[in-house]
Symmetry: C2
Subunit: 385 residues, 2 copies
Amino acid sequence: DMNEDVIDIDDPFARDPQRHPALMINSLKPFNAEPPPELVVDSYITPNELFFVRNHLPVPVVDPKTFRLEIEFSSGKTKKFSLDDLKKFKEHTITASLQCAGNRRSEMSKYKPVKGLSWNFTAISNARWTGVLLRDVLQSAGVTLTNDEIKHVQFEGLDKDPTGAPYGASIAIEKALGPFGDVLLAYKMNGEELPGDHGFPLRVIVPGVVGARNVKWLSKIILSDIESQSHWQQNDYKGFSPSVDWDSVDFKKSVAVQDYPCQSAICQPKNGSEVHRSEETVVVKGYSWSGGGRDTIRVDVSGDGGKTWKVATLQKEHQTPYRAWAWSLWEVELPIPADGKKMEIICKSVDDSYNVQPDSVQGIWNLRGLLNNSWHHIAVDVKEE
Amino acid sequence: DMNEDVIDIDDPFARDPQRHPALMINSLKPFNAEPPPELVVDSYITPNELFFVRNHLPVPVVDPKTFRLEIEFSSGKTKKFSLDDLKKFKEHTITASLQCAGNRRSEMSKYKPVKGLSWNFTAISNARWTGVLLRDVLQSAGVTLTNDEIKHVQFEGLDKDPTGAPYGASIAIEKALGPFGDVLLAYKMNGEELPGDHGFPLRVIVPGVVGARNVKWLSKIILSDIESQSHWQQNDYKGFSPSVDWDSVDFKKSVAVQDYPCQSAICQPKNGSEVHRSEETVVVKGYSWSGGGRDTIRVDVSGDGGKTWKVATLQKEHQTPYRAWAWSLWEVELPIPADGKKMEIICKSVDDSYNVQPDSVQGIWNLRGLLNNSWHHIAVDVKEE
Ligand SMILES: [Mo]
Ligand SMILES: [Mo]
């Protein structure tokens, strides 16, 4: 088909990359999609082509040879780095999960409608990221924690809105420079070049922090006394009380989401699927993760709607204290109840700060539908024959 | 009365200090008591004599002149420090709240009985602690994060059980040496010498971490590849799934509580007190705190049992990111509902990692009654005249 190679020059999304057909699409332009739950629990490391994609804008097409990362210091001076310049710093690989702030928004919307992409429960993935430490690059330029003029590190991407404004976000200087922050300027994902949808040729990985601050197609770093003034840092990706509505909301009064709270979800069996009473047990699988370097220490799973709980077996790699950036996959075998046509399955996790997930959406509902980390519920039909 | 000066030499508690009569006592020997809620919200800094007391054993009587802190290094070598030796290091003052892991246990017990002291909801207090940084003392002896043989810092107190074993606990080396850990060897509390009940002459303040690791009457620090082997680190102060009972519990399978999850409670009005409908509003006050250096960013308060929420005004001091060690006090004026004989008031807090408190005790119940941070509920009677 000749048309496959024809690019509509009026469509800013026309040069977006090819995507894997298994991805569950929430929006085409910009492209937003998540992997099917049954594939999520298949592998501790999410394959690049199945990693959830959260694009705010068209994917920029970048020539790695002419690409430069610019750093603007608090003096106003700037310095440019080619990819080869960056690769002179010590290379590090870290395993880190990223999660969209809107993961599980569709469940929150069922309680009361919210604004935003209707993510299911797998806008989260786990990869090995290779690059150089932002800390090393900044320290080589003399940036230290003792400089009181620098409170935030702002990031800009090469992806631009119709007015020409780049995607932007920022993090605290303590996260960037602290010895346990592990913020990475990443050029590889699972051993391969970064895919176009994940920031080729360079993105920042801010482990433990909500996806939105992990700026892709990273082109500029600004050391500043203030947060990024971008729409996404100032007027989006903030939480509110359940009683705040679009008439009363004041984004200035809330705090930008950074570290993510603890989360877990059931990926197998599927909600609404069938089990047979004669099988006696059902294997339940899912993921759990907590931000801020906190590790999952326990996942409780119930097969009777929360009356009793069984502790799941966790699959995870060793991580050092305060630097647990990667998720856990988990598995548990639950007895199928002796009677009843439905089996209600719930999971909830505990992190190493003994933070837990809230029981329900009621208390965490917010108008942007962010950070739904309530207990995850599914129900399966129990068949008799 | 002559008897006041007579000490029963067979009673190991006979030399315990005098206490303030306002403290609400949970146990006399050892002494465990908490301040009345109405006094808690009276002052951001808790006066020394009203600070909650959690003693596991009799209070040791220590001569500060002969007192020595011993540090045992991974080589097995030891070094002793007098108080004057320690005071040669740079002095620091930090404001930090301490909370007992058993705070609010009495509410958890109402859901289903647990073992432990029946704390009400004010086993938490806030003070300014002055001392020297453990990090500075260890670094002066050449201890660094790159030493793989050291994973934990163990603490021993001068308080001993009947077998002669000291109270003990440990923390991760990353907390002790990290630049944002702020672990203090404290000799002053709110500008005064440490009171006997709070560790005179020296205690460790591990900010953001559960009270039990903030060892009082500190006499020994051991740098080790393993955690403290004390009863309190190994077989106590650990959380479990709600379905674990005393027949099935295996303390080896759980993780010692360190950083505390987010917490809040209503201190005013009192549960069961009266309000008058003609007053139209009621002022509600309380505290909120989160461990791990996380700050409270919002407290939601409901006067209608959770149907609607009003955001409270927070009273707190400036704290730097990742190092928010002190609580917030909060206040909100709620409308008294137009009808009904009871007004059900609930509070719940959000920390800067957007961690929230769980809705109910049901999912966090554990056989030791630890870490009850469920939404705090009270009810007041609404009078008509
Ligand atoms: Mo996101
Ligand atoms: Mo405690």
